[in-house]
C-alpha cells in the first residue's frame, strides 16, 4: 500500500517536472524568438505582423517618380539627349535618363527614417534608393539594349498597340509601377497586398507550394514567399513578358524572375529590395532598393477606375473603324 502510494507520488512528481521543464524550454524559445522579432507583433500563425492601414512605396520604377511632372518634360523624341528632355534614353551607356538619376539622388538626400518631408534625415539612417548598381549602369546584353532602344523609338508616337505604355492601357503594372497606396493583409499561410493603383491584388503563398506550370503567364506573376526572421522573401515567376520596369525599360521578358525582400525594420517602415533576373536581357541579375512607409494620412484605398470611359487609346492610336 505504502509502496503503491509512493509509486503514484513519484509518477506525479515526474510528470510535473517534465511538464515544467518542457514549458520552461518553450518559454525560453519563445523569448529568444521575441528578442529577434524586435518586439514586432505576431499574427496567429506566427508571422511578423505588418501593420494594418495604408502604406506607400518609394524608390522603385520610373514612371511615378516625378519624371512626368518635370517642368521641361519633352517626350516627343525619346532619343533626344539634351538635359531638357528628362525622358531621353539615348546614348547613355546605362540607358537611364538624367531625371531618373537626379531624382534618385535627391531622394537619398531627403529621406529620413520613415519620413519623406524636407527635414534632413538623421545621420546614419539615410537609405539610397533606386537601382543599386555601381553608377546605376545596368548589365545589358548589347542585343537586348539595341532592341529596347529600337522599341522606344516607336513609342512616341506609338506605331501600334504594343508600343503604348501599359499604364496608358490601364493594365496591371507588374511589380515596379505604382508606389501606393497599398494595404497588407495577413491570413494563415498568406500575405496579400492590395493596391489602389490599377486595383491589383498580389497573393503571396507561404505554404511551400510549387510555382504554377510554366505556360501560365500573368501580369503580376506567381508569388511564393517565406519569412526569414523579420524579412518576407518573395520569389516570383510566370510573368507574361509585357510589363515594364520603367518608361526607359519598357518591357521585361517572360524569363523574368524576381526575388523581393520586405524587411520590417519597425512598425511603420519596411525596407524593400528586389533582385531582377531577366537572363534574356541582362548578363546578370541587378538590384533595386526602396522603402514602404505607413501613410497615416490616408484612411483607405479608394477606387482607381482607369479603363472605364478612358479615351487615351483613341487619342494615341486613332478611332477604330466601326464594324
Amino acid at each position: 500500500m505504502t509502496s503503491k502510494l509512493f509509486r503514484v507520488t513519484i509518477t506525479v512528481v515526474l510528470v510535473i517536472t517534465a511538464v515544467s521543464l518542457i514549458s520552461a524550454s518553450a518559454y525560453a524559445q519563445a523569448r529568444a524568438a521575441n528578442a529577434t522579432a524586435n518586439t514586432l507583433a505576431r499574427t496567429p500563425d506566427g508571422q511578423p505582423k505588418i501593420a494594418d492601414g495604408v502604406w506607400n512605396r518609394r524608390g522603385v520604377g520610373g514612371l511615378d517618380q516625378g519624371a512626368l511632372e518635370a517642368p521641361d518634360h519633352r517626350p516627343e523624341n525619346p532619343l533626344d539627349p539634351t538635359p531638357a528632355n528628362p525622358l531621353s534614353v539615348s546614348t547613355r551607356a546605362d540607358g537611364l535618363n538624367n531625371v531618373d538619376r537626379g531624382f534618385l539622388e535627391q531622394f537619398s538626400e531627403k529621406l529620413g527614417a520613415g519620413g519623406d518631408d524636407d527635414r534632413p534625415a538623421p545621420r546614419g539612417e539615410r537609405r539610397l534608393m533606386g537601382i543599386a548598381e555601381p553608377g546605376r549602369i545596368l548589365p545589358w546584353k548589347p542585343d537586348a539594349n539595341a532592341a529596347r532602344q529600337a522599341f522606344l523609338l516607336k513609342t512616341n508616337p506609338a506605331q501600334g498597340l504594343k508600343y503604348v505604355e501599359m499604364d496608358a492601357r490601364c493594365m496591371q503594372p507588374g511589380l515596379f509601377f505604382g508606389n501606393g497606396p497599398f494595404q497588407f493583409l495577413q491570413t494563415e499561410g498568406q500575405v496579400t497586398i492590395l493596391s489602389e493603383y490599377q486595383h491589383f491584388t498580389r497573393h503571396i503563398y507561404l505554404d511551400g507550394r510549387p510555382h504554377l506550370p510554366k505556360d501560365i503567364k500573368m501580369f503580376m506573376g506567381d508569388s511564393i514567399g517565406r519569412w526569414e526572421g523579420n524579412t518576407l522573401v518573395v520569389d516570383t515567376t510566370n510573368f507574361n513578358g509585357i510589363t515594364a520596369y520603367s518608361r526607359e525599360i519598357p518591357y521585361l521578358t517572360d524569363a523574368l524572375r524576381t526575388t523581393e525582400r520586405f524587411t520590417l525594420t519597425n512598425a511603420n517602415t519596411i525596407d524593400y529590395e528586389v533582385t531582377i533576373d531577366d537572363p534574356n536581357q541582362f548578363t546578370r541579375p541587378w538590384k533595386v532598393t526602396g522603402q514602404y512607409t505607413k501613410a497615416d494620412d490616408l484612411p483607405e484605398l479608394l477606387e482607381y477606375a482607369c479603363w472605364e470611359g478612358s479615351i487615351t487609346l483613341r487619342n494615341i492610336l486613332g478611332e477604330p473603324p466601326r464594324k
Partner: protein
C-alpha cells in the same frame, strides 16, 4: 439469431461512430473563426448564369438557361423606368458595360460573374479580389462611416459589419453606369446595396443582395444565391484581363489615322 443481432448492433455502433466523427470534423471546420466570426477566407464562385440574366430565362447561343436569382422573379421598376431597361436589352451586344466594354461590373454583378473570387479575411479587414479584370473591393470592418464624398464609384464604397455570424456589407457611392446583367437591368446613382454573406457550412456561403434605388424601383428587392468554395486541389485565382483582350481585338491594326 443472437449472433446476427450482435453483428447488426456492432455494425450500427460502428456507423454511428463514423457518422459522429464526420459531423464533428465538419463542425470543427465550420468552427474556424477569426476574431470570433466565421472564417470566410478562400476561393469562391457562383454556379449560375445570373450575369447573363438575373431573371428566369431560356437558353440562347452562348447563354445557359436558368431560373432567376431574384426573389419572386419580379424587378419592381417604376413605370417610367421600364423603357430604359428594354432599350438596354435591345443594344446589349455593344452597350453592356461589362460584357461588351470590360468596365468594372459593379455590385452585386461582380459576385455572379462566372469567375472565381478570393476572400481575404482578417480581424479588421475583408478584401475581395475577383479574377474578372482583377477587380478589388477593400471592405473595412472598423466601423468607420462611408466617406462624405460626392464621388461616384463603379464598385461603390463598402463598409462591413457583423450581425451575429453574418457579414453585412453596406455599399454606397455608386455611379449610374453599371448593369445588373447582360439583359440590361440597370440602376441610378441612388443605388444602395446591402450584401449578406452567411457561411452555411465550411464550403457554402448563402449570399443575399438587397437592392434599393428609389429613382428606378418602387421598393427594395432581393437576389440570393449560394457561393461555392472551389475545392479543386490546385484552385487559384489567375488573371482574366478582359480589358487587355478587348484592346488587342479593337486596336489590332492600329494606328488608324496614319
Amino acid at each position: 439469431m443472437k449472433k446476427h443481432t450482435g453483428f447488426v448492433t456492432s455494425a450500427v455502433i460502428m456507423l454511428c461512430i463514423l457518422w459522429l466523427a464526420e459531423i464533428s470534423a465538419a463542425a470543427q471546420a465550420a468552427q474556424r473563426r477569426i476574431a470570433g466570426k466565421p472564417d470566410l477566407n478562400g476561393i469562391w464562385q457562383v454556379l449560375n448564369s445570373a450575369s447573363w440574366n438575373i431573371q428566369d430565362h431560356n437558353g440562347e447561343l452562348g447563354v445557359p438557361p436558368a431560373l432567376g436569382v431574384v426573389e419572386g422573379n419580379e424587378i419592381p421598376y417604376r413605370p417610367e423606368a421600364v423603357a430604359k431597361k428594354q432599350e438596354n436589352y435591345g443594344k446589349r451586344a455593344t452597350a453592356d458595360p461589362t460584357e461588351a466594354n470590360c468596365y468594372l461590373p459593379g455590385v452585386p454583378r461582380i459576385t455572379y460573374m462566372p469567375f472565381p473570387f478570393k476572400i481575404t479575411h482578417t480581424p479588421n479587414n475583408i478584401a475581395i479580389s475577383y479574377e474578372f479584370n482583377h477587380t478589388l473591393r477593400p471592405i473595412p470592418l472598423d466601423g468607420s462611416p462611408h466617406p462624405e464624398t460626392p464621388e461616384e464609384n463603379w464598385m461603390g464604397i463598402s463598409r462591413g459589419r457583423w450581425e451575429g455570424d453574418t457579414l453585412v456589407v453596406d455599399v454606397r457611392n455608386f455611379n449610374d453606369q453599371t448593369w445588373f446583367d447582360h439583359a440590361g437591368n440597370y440602376h441610378s446613382e441612388q443605388l444602395r446595396v446591402t450584401e449578406r454573406y452567411t457561411l452555411m457550412d465550411p464550403d457554402h456561403i448563402m449570399y443575399e443582395a438587397t437592392i434599393e434605388d428609389p429613382k428606378v424601383f418602387t421598393r427594395p428587392w432581393k437576389m440570393s444565391m449560394p457561393l461555392y468554395r472551389r475545392k479543386d486541389p490546385n484552385a487559384r485565382l489567375l488573371e482574366y484581363e478582359c480589358t487587355y483582350y478587348l484592346q488587342e481585338k479593337i486596336y489590332k491594326d492600329a494606328p488608324f489615322f496614319r
